[in-house]
């Protein structure tokens, strides 16, 4: 038994040595994903970013990733493993990796870490996120213009700030067109369950919504819309192939430019930990081509997109909270901290926020 252990240890040592030697030739950039890269949603888009990095830098950069890494203590081992395998920069792509990444970053001061959607930073740990809510404001306007019933169905996963922020931005967009616009909200308690999402979409359509919006990751709701001859919006990826007649547009996460920029900085030796929250302006949030829409609606959507790219924030007052009390004064812009911790609805949302 002892001999076996020594043999194992020796093998492990050789292997990790081999990995270090290899890594000195190229810059090794690594990713940790919460889901499978085959989800065609959130993790898939991050992996598209990784592929964009490979394409951009060719021989100078080598990449590696771990998929399906559970949030929590398991994540720590994943980060540590990558750190020991010679990764020079590691991107953790899910909120729940935060504490694990903070710990591992402290252990490996020479390695650069980046964490998506979190809020803890360090000497070698930067954070990044995308302003998805900007896209949601745009689709809110489209929904209000296109809906005959004046009611949209909204499928959501969990009541976290990111999701609440999205609902509010959508409503503000819709109300800018039709102040009486209604939204029906259904929580499915899952980021990813095509069956449940399809059921939720059917329920919402049955109850009179004629447009479906989702903050869950599968293409199932759009497929239901297509079957019923109704419409909706894609999430995370351009889902037009699943609903060529039903998708108006999709809010696409494009992480490629950010990853390319940051890895370029590592190569140039100028990388510093930063707090980056980028949106339509920087190209981190893209709107998929506007389809199945009248020209004037598409043009108006592009106009809003341009306005946001020009620096206008959808959360600009006057905005009232759900109970009618004032949140933002006329012309006042919400600060990022409030947005990132958002736990209330704006006026007009007819739902009780699960606590």
């Amino acid at each position: 038994m002892k001999k076996l252990l020594i043999a194992l240890a020796a093998t492990a040592a050789t292997l990790s040595f081999a990995a270090t030697v290899q890594a000195q030739e190229k810059l090794k950039a690594c990713w940790v994903y919460v889901g499978p890269i085959g989800d065609f949603g959130y993790s898939y888009q991050h992996d598209q970013g990784r592929l964009a990095v490979e394409k951009q830098f060719g021989d100078k950069v080598e990449t590696a990733y771990l998929e399906n890494v559970a949030e929590g203590p398991d994540a720590e081992r994943a980060f540590e493993r990558l750190a020991r395998q010679g990764c020079k920069i590691i991107f953790g792509t899910s909120f729940g990796f935060m504490d694990a990444e903070v710990k591992v970053a402290a252990k490996f001061p020479d390695i650069k870490f980046e964490h998506a959607t979190g809020y803890k930073m360090g000497d070698n740990l930067g954070i990044y996120n995308a302003r998805f809510y900007e896209g949601r404001y745009v689709i809110g306007q489209i929904a209000a213009k296109q809906s005959k019933a004046g009611v949209a169905g909204y499928i959501v996963s969990f009541p976290i700030p990111e999701v609440v922020m999205g609902i509010n931005a959508f409503m503000l967009g819709a109300q800018s067109v039709n102040p009486d616009f209604k939204v029906k909200i259904v929580w499915v308690n899952s980021w990813f369950d095509p069956g449940k999402e399809a059921d939720a979409a059917k329920a919402l359509f049955d109850q009179g919504a004629d447009i479906i919006v989702q903050h869950t990751d599968s293409t199932a709701p759009l497929q239901v819309a297509q079957e019923r001859g109704l419409h909706g919006f894609g999430q995370a990826s351009d889902m037009i192939t699943f609903a060529p007649k039903s998708q108006y547009t999709a809010i696409v996460d494009d992480w490629g430019p950010y990853y390319i920029e940051r890895i370029g900085e590592v190569l140039a030796g100028t990388w510093k930990p930063e707090d980056r929250w980028e949106g339509i302006k920087e190209g981190a949030v893209l709107m998929a081509p506007y389809t199945n829409l009248p020209d004037d609606v598409a043009a108006a959507a592009k106009e809003t997109e341009a306005k946001i790219a020009g620096g206008w924030n959808p959360f600009t007052g006057p905005v009232a909270k759900q109970d009618g009390s004032e949140w933002l004064k006329d012309g006042e812009v919400a600060d990022d901290k409030t947005l990132l911790g958002m736990n209330f609805y704006v006026k007009g949302v007819d739902d009780k926020l699960p606590q």
């Binding site: 889901g35 499978p36 085959g38 989800d39 065609f40 898939y44 169905g153 029906k184 909200i185 259904v186 929580w187 499915v188 308690n189 899952s190 990813f192 369950d193 095509p194 069956g195 449940k196 999402e197 399809a198 059921d199 939720a200 059917k202 329920a203 919402l204 049955d206 109850q207 919504a209 599968s218 293409t219 199932a220 497929q223 990826s237 192939t241 699943f242 007819d350 739902d351 009780k352 699960p354």
Partner: protein
């Protein structure tokens, strides 16, 4: 009226995969074998169904590929637990994990492609009857298969000699063996039947429910099916009732939410498991009932002449 029909149709679609997977597992457990790999076999059926339908353009071929893949995959479990007498719980769990991983690997190239959908039945005149027309004559083909399966299994288990033999093996494999019954052969057939059913249930997901492929798209339905078998105390008609109750509760809460009635959806998501625990407690209080329904040698390995 239209909305009621729509709701009932949605419930049927949600209940069908649970029902089929559970009825297959019921036969397996009645033979005294506990196969916890339902989720894994199901997801193999999902990828088999999607892949074959996509490559051939024919969802019916997909349907049979799903069944076949589920059955073949269950053979692995049968060889391990029946011929090699490995621990059934551990083997079943590894079957689930293997299935999820393997299907993900097989499906890499299918991600992001729209699939073929099995068309709903349409009989002129009959399907056009208001209200009951669509409910009775306008569902997807797998729905009809699920109903036929339940009736066939109920009849087989309780009205045929072979069914009686199968149940006797589940109750006491040593006695059955002493009577000269081929225990292992029966169990092989039962496990493969369970695999085929799980495969069909999985194919329903990728051919009817949501025609697409993404990793892990069974999302725990195999586990609900396992819970259903216990919930139904190993009786086929109760599995039917249970699957539809679970489906109705799930769809009902979605409608309640959309209607604006606040229901704690987290609680409702856990309801199938909670209900199973309650049923387990209830049936274990009544000794006679437990003895009557629970296959007595469930989960125990059997090696002839040892």
């Amino acid at each position: 009226m239209d909305i009621t029909v729509n709701i009932l149709m949605t419930i049927a679609t949600a209940a069908t995969p649970l029902l089929i997977a559970a009825i297959g597992e019921l036969v397996v457990e009645r033979s005294g074998v506990l196969n916890l790999g339902v989720e894994g076999m199901m997801v193999m059926g999902t990828i088999g169904g999607f892949g074959a339908a996509y490559l051939t353009g024919n969802p019916w071929i997909g349907l049979f590929a799903g069944i076949a893949l589920g059955a073949i995959f269950s053979l692995l479990f049968a060889v391990m637990t029946l011929s090699l007498a490995t621990n059934q719980v551990a083997t079943g769990l590894s079957l689930t994990i293997l299935g999820l991983g393997l299907s993900g690997m097989m499906g890499t190239n299918f991600v992001g492609l729209p699939g073929e959908r099995l068309p709903n039945l349409y009989i002129p005149v009959l399907t056009d009857i208001p209200v009951i027309g669509r409910l009775l004559f306008g569902q997807d083909p797998i729905f009809y298969m699920s109903i036929v399966l339940v009736i066939a299994v109920a009849w087989f288990l309780f009205r045929t000699r072979t069914g009686l033999t199968l149940r006797s093996i589940g109750d006491s494999h040593t006695s059955a063996h002493a009577l000269g019954i081929q225990v292992i052969r029966y169990r092989y057939l039962a496990v493969v039947f369970g695999g085929a059913c799980a495969g069909l249930a999985g194919a329903h997901l990728s051919l009817v429910y949501t025609p697409q492929w993404v990793e892990n798209m069974t999302a725990g339905r195999g586990w609900i099916a396992l819970a259903l078998v216990v919930f139904a105390s190993w009786r086929p008609l109760r599995v039917l009732a249970g699957a539809y109750i679970f489906g109705a509760v799930w769809i009902g809460q979605l409608h309640a939410q959309a209607f604006g009635i606040p229901v704690p959806s987290q609680f409702l998501s856990s309801l199938p498991y909670l209900a199973t625990i309650v049923v387990l407690v209830l049936i274990s209080r009544n000794k006679r009932l437990t003895m009557m329904n629970t296959p007595a040698s469930l989960g125990q390995p059997f090696v002839p002449d040892r």
